[in-house]
């Protein structure tokens, strides 16, 4: 290894550490009255606009919030109708959950043997009944037309002032069917109103000829057909950019009036915000104390080498946290334990190498020779042993989403932090430690 290359690697490591350190600083730092802001790493490279959100994502168990699991009753549907019905159920509920305005909320469909489940997570929400009421409610279908506001009113108008409800809702609908338009071969949804709905719809089309009518579901516009003629026979069709599946889904939604499939709450989990905060604080404290003790232990056992491994451990911690922010990985209780455990395991490759190093010194090699030999020979064990851990972690992570294995977010979160920890641990334990040692031993000699 020539000097120049070692120096290059060393500078790269220093740079990497510095970037990770900056990313992990709090967004605003107040030192001696001066406020320093963390750069937001906003890059623009040709068409690529890269603006990462560098905040640590906290899982529901740490941030507090509500998790609900529903069983979906699919008994009434044939298998061909099932997929679009499930999709529209999901989008329906997503729309309702989004009303809470919490960006991290998630709606997931899970297939479990013969049954289907819907998992909903709303971080930050504390009132379960608020969530269950909103999710389980009947869908509100409404037809609305645009209002020509006088210019002097636009300044103070609210969004809803621009719309006029035509008084038609789901109860006026007799039937909705998905069909292919025989003229142009495009999928569309045909509507059939009952007698009262027919009257209302005729009036609405008359009033809005050549103008759009907005069809809202749960206060959310689903389609905006333009009225071509006055429709007085109670039959209408909605065309748009439908595929056969989305047309079917919309028809199911409209028919059901409520959710396309009945759902039943089977599990709920509600976490207050204080519990999570407490656990994070204690976890971080425990991690720091552990790290300090491990450093003492390493220095006591391996002297100078121990200091190097402590430095690479700190670099390990910084890189790991940076990746948590960039990927991003949602931190949960077991995730934090996985991280702390992985610190203990990251030292392992150093211990393997240093133990080997002591042997090589005893065998009569000089410092530099022993070092290179130790890294080379220990690599075999490090590789095999960590491969075994990764195998188990992969079974836990279940990356292909196999049904017979675990699909719970908690276990998978733990597995992901473990795998990341192993990979970064090998990097810092082997590459970083080795090059730090090369640099410092050259100086010494």
């Amino acid at each position: 290894m020539d000097r120049l290359r070692i120096r290059k690697i060393f500078i790269t490591i220093l740079g990497l550490t510095f970037i990770c350190l900056v990313i992990n600083l709090p967004p605003e730092l107040n030192i001696g009255g001066k406020v320093y802001r963390r750069p937001d790493f906003h890059f623009r490279l040709g068409p690529i606009d890269f603006k990462p959100n560098l905040d640590l994502r906290l899982g529901l168990d740490l941030s507090g919030g509500v998790a609900l699991t529903y069983n979906v009753n699919t008994a009434k549907l044939g298998s061909s109708e099932l997929a679009p019905a499930l999709e529209s159920l999901k989008s329906n509920i997503e729309r309702r959950v989004n009303l809470f305005g919490i960006s991290e909320s998630a709606v997931q469909l899970i297939k479990e043997k013969d049954s289907h489940r819907l998992k909903i997570e709303i971080p930050g929400l504390t009132n379960v009944s608020e969530a269950t009421d909103l999710i389980g409610q009947t869908a509100q279908l409404s037809f609305q037309s645009l209002v020509d506001l006088p210019p002097e009113a636009t300044a103070t108008a609210k969004p809803e002032d621009y719309f006029k409800d035509e008084g038609i809702n789901g109860s006026h609908l007799k039937k909705a069917t998905a069909q292919i338009n025989p003229q142009n071969g495009q999928p569309e949804v045909s509507l059939e109103f009952n007698s009262q709905g027919t009257k209302l719809f005729a009036a609405a089309t008359k009033a809005n000829l050549k103008k759009p009518i907005y069809i809202f579901l749960d206060d959310y516009p689903i389609t905006t057909p333009v009225v071509q003629e006055i429709i007085s026979d109670g039959r209408a069709s909605i065309s748009g950019n439908f595929t056969l599946d989305t047309a079917k889904a919309l028809a199911i939604q409209l028919n059901a009036g409520a959710l396309p499939l009945p759902i039943e709450l089977i599990s709920q989990n509600q976490v207050g915000a204080t519990l999570g905060k407490d656990t994070i604080q204690k976890g971080v404290f425990a991690g720091l104390v552990g790290l300090a003790l491990v450093s003492f232990f390493m220095v006591g056992n391996y002297g100078v080498l121990g200091i190097i491994s402590t430095v690479s451990l700190i670099i390990y911690g910084l890189i790991t946290l940076t990746l948590y922010r960039i990927i991003p990985i949602t931190l949960t209780f077991p995730g934090i334990v996985g991280f702390i455990l992985s610190i203990g395991m990251a030292v392992d490759s150093n211990i393997l190498i240093f133990a080997r190093f002591k042997e090589e010194i005893r065998a009569g090699h000089d410092w530099n020779q022993a070092l290179e030999l130790a890294f080379g020979r220990a690599w075999d064990s490090i590789k095999d042993a960590n491969a075994a851990t990764i195998i188990t972690a992969l079974v836990l992570l279940n990356p292909l989403g196999w049904n017979f294995l675990n699909t719970s977010g908690m276990v998978r979160g733990f597995a992901l932090t473990l795998i990341l920890g192993i990979v970064i641990g090998i990097f810092t334990g082997v590459v970083v430690s080795r090059n730090l040692l090369r640099v410092f031993t050259r100086r010494r000699l």
């Binding site: 379960v128 991690g287 195998i391 836990l396």
Partner: protein
């Protein structure tokens, strides 16, 4: 260092640990959490002092109250049968009548079917990772006895870990939950991790000293790797112990399970995996 001459001692220790584990598992079973059997778990802070105050509330709602535990001077954990949302609200309203300052920390309710799934899925995960590890180690070392030794040692660790939680459950109320499952599977991997390092050394020595027999090779390999093995476990033990002592209530049992797993795993690499390989080798020849 002739560690392998202690094989009978290792055998007695392992047999004893396994016997205690199995005895405890058969007689006392384990305390399954609601993750496995379904139910509700409600944690809150309150000035209510006596557990008997909860009984009438739950009787009025016809909900079976399993237990009421005081977590700290002002926080409670109640466990009861699965409830519907209106039932939950009724219970909370009644509780707030007794203590208006009550603050909810956590509420969880789970139907029994979800729990059974977790149990079978854990079993599948253990079987799948055992097969994969058996194949991986067998292939890496070109020797099926190594794969068998490592995987059997892994089962040894798993049984002892479950057994010790059965004991902890009987005496201290520790519960088997979804986190325990994670700890169990991690133990399996860390147990094999340690074993592989020693196996690696045996393989390396074998190429250098092909005239040595397996027992001598094992002795040399163990005495050359045992310090690193103990040192490495020490660092993990330090991290986990600080979590057990300083970490929050929620992570405590999880960290303890991992801690037991690491200690047993370190022992079993030397005390179980290698003696088993030696035994297979003797059978073969």
């Amino acid at each position: 260092m002739n560690i392998m001459k202690f094989r009978p001692l290792f055998f007695i220790i392992s047999a004893l640990l396994l016997a205690i584990s199995l005895y405890s598992l058969i007689v006392w079973r384990f305390q399954p959490s609601i993750d496995f059997v379904g139910g509700s778990n409600y944690q809150f802070t309150s000035t209510i002092t006596s557990a008997t105050e909860f009984n009438p509330i739950f009787e009025a709602q016809k909900v079976k109250l399993y237990s009421a535990t005081k977590l700290s001077s002002n926080s409670w954990e109640l466990k009861f049968a699965p409830v519907s949302e209106p039932q939950r609200q009724a219970i909370v309203t009644e509780l707030k009548k007794k203590d208006a300052s009550l603050t909810e920390l956590q509420f969880q309710t789970l139907g029994p079917s979800l729990g059974r799934e977790l149990l079978t899925k854990t079993l599948y995960a253990i079987i799948l990772s055992s097969i994969l590890l058996f194949l991986f180690i067998g292939r890496r070392f070109g020797d099926i006895t190594f794969g068998a030794g490592a995987v059997l040692a892994m089962f040894h660790d798993a049984i002892i870990l479950i057994g010790s939680f059965s004991l902890l459950g009987h005496f201290f109320g520790a519960e088997l939950d979804a986190l325990f499952v994670t700890a169990l599977l991690t133990t399996l991997s860390s147990s094999v991790h340690d074993t592989i390092v020693t196996f690696n050394r045996i393989r390396e020595l074998k190429t250098k000293h092909f005239n040595l027999n397996w027992v001598d090779l094992s002795n040399r390999a163990v005495s050359e790797t045992i310090v690193r093995s103990i040192n490495n476990s020490m660092t993990i033990v330090i991290m986990l112990a600080s979590l057990v002592v300083l970490g929050g209530e929620v992570t405590r049992w999880f960290a303890l399970a991992l801690l037991i797993g690491v200690v047993v795993g370190t022992y079993s690499s030397t005390g179980v995996a290698i003696p088993l390989v030696l035994w297979f080798k003797r059978k073969k020849s």
